[in-house]
């Protein structure tokens, strides 16, 4: 294969937080870098960079995925949502509000990934129990909190977002 073919850039168009972003990218550009450096969405964090910690989690067509383990070209013409795209102007998303109310963060580095994973978890299962929350968030790591307040926030958000609110807190 000739070397120029390997370095060819490809034009992609991706819907990010409701806006179409177009760019010419190297095939090897990871989605996490595209979002941070091209779309200037620094809420996407790069933690372990080895598909473990989930700090880079975004929603891809509504499903939580680790953006450090996706090439930008793979998501051409698809829909990406980051932490920057979930609040309604100044009104926090219910999951964000629950994290704030439960003090579910300390340094905050993992938080955007946790929030995105929690949004998908509650979308799939609006009334999870504690075990289901812990399982659902097992792809995200936090080195500060010990997870107790994160789990509490997810359950609180379930009561808010969730339809019946059984007062588990």
């Amino acid at each position: 294969m000739d070397e120029s073919a390997a370095t060819d850039r490809l034009d992609v168009s991706i819907s990010v937080n409701g806006e179409t972003v177009t760019a010419s990218v190297e095939p090897r550009l990871l989605l996490a870098h595209f979002l941070r450096e091209e779309a200037h969405l620094a809420g996407v964090r790069i933690g372990c960079d080895t598909t473990s910690c989930g700090a880079c989690a975004v929603l891809l067509d509504g499903r939580a995925a680790k953006s450090c383990t996706l090439f930008t070209v793979q998501v051409a013409d698809r829909t990406v949502t980051t932490i920057e795209g979930i609040a309604d102007d100044d009104r926090l998303h219910p999951v964000q509000a629950a994290f704030r109310e439960e003090h579910a963060l300390q340094c905050g580095f993992c938080t955007s990934g946790f929030v995105m994973a929690t949004i998908e978890l509650l979308e799939r299962n609006p009334e999870p129990d504690e075990r289901e929350v812990r399982e659902g968030l097992s792809g995200n790591l936090c080195r500060c909190t010990g997870y107790v307040n994160i789990v509490a926030a997810a359950l609180r958000a379930a009561n808010k977002v969730g339809r019946t609110g059984k007062g588990r807190m």
Binding site: E26, S52, G139
Partner: protein, 293 residues
């Protein structure tokens, strides 16, 4: 971490994917969910110069059933598999397996076909697919062929898949009355590979004696290790907890564990005995329950 440069070829049809793969041969790798390949490329353990992306081929992402089989497209994601009522009803051992692979975020992208075709002895589906008697459909320039899962894995990261072939489908025999299978994995933490894993298949005509048995182990050798001595020990015997425990010990003798950060080889052999016994117990409850295990 940046992976090495590569040429990206998004396939718009299965035919195009096969053509492109024939065109580039050994230089190319098929990109499915990417959850193993991309990390390997980032660590520079793999550096294919061409990636043929089959992730947009909807025809490979369906689950269907025939009278005898559940047919799973190679691009079905783990998260689609674990939520499939067809799989839950007819091949519950695959649900056991899917739920212990990596973590929920990875499972949203990782595919069943990728897990099998990768040939990593630490991957979980291979043992289950071999134990349940599944087979793989491989498509190449000269057409398709079918390879039983038990014959597919040849050595570490080496399978029967030729460089110009793509895995398109996994056919799993339905778990009908009198049969049952299960998978048990023991891991240090979510997302890790198995310290030891065991897949068991049992068949019984009278709900008290074992007719046929198949046992395969995960991450205890270069390929899924078949525990043939444990199988023969079970066949024809009346089921008891003690029998399953003995079979576990026999399976542990077949294991070829190495010492690593997951434990010493001796420890992992003991875990192999434990998970085999547990997988047999769970498979047996499914034999007795009939269709919906």
């Amino acid at each position: 971490m940046y992976p090495p440069r590569f040429k990206y070829v998004p396939a718009r049809s299965l035919e195009e994917a096969v053509d492109e793969l024939a065109n580039y041969g050994y230089e190319a790798k098929v990109l499915a969910g990417g959850q193993s390949l991309i990390p390997m490329m980032k660590l520079r353990l793999a550096s294919p110069s061409v990636l043929i992306d089959i992730s947009r081929l909807e025809s490979l992402a369906t689950i269907s059933e025939t009278a005898q089989e559940v047919r799973i497209g190679a691009m079905v994601t783990e998260s689609a598999l674990e939520r499939s009522p067809v799989v839950a009803g007819w091949a519950p051992a695959l649900i056991d397996t899917s739920r212990v692979i990596a973590d929920p975020l990875v499972r949203n992208l990782a595919t069943v076909g990728g897990n099998a075709a990768h040939g990593d002895p630490a991957n979980d589906h291979p043992a289950t697919l071999a134990a349940t008697g599944a087979s793989f459909t491989l498509l190449g320039p000269d057409g398709s062929r079918t390879v039983p899962a038990g014959d597919f894995f040849e050595d570490i990261f080496t399978t029967a898949l030729e460089p110009d072939e793509i895995m398109t489908e996994i056919a799993v025999p339905k778990q009908k009355a009198g049969t049952g299978s299960a998978y048990i994995k023991y891991e240090r933490q979510v997302g890790d590979y198995a310290i030891a894993g065991a897949a068991a298949y049992l068949k019984s005509d009278d709900s008290s004696t074992v007719g046929d048995a198949r046992i395969y182990l995960t991450n205890l050798g270069p390929i899924p290790v078949r525990a043939t001595d444990a199988e023969s020990l079970l066949e024809g015997q009346t089921v008891s907890r003690r029998l399953f425990k003995e079979a576990g010990s026999a399976a542990a003798c077949a294991a070829q564990p190495w010492s690593d950060m997951r434990g010493s080889s001796e420890y992992r052999r003991r875990v192999a005995a434990m998970v085999t016994g547990q997988a047999l117990e769970k498979a047996w409850t499914r034999v007795r329950k009939g269709r919906h295990g």
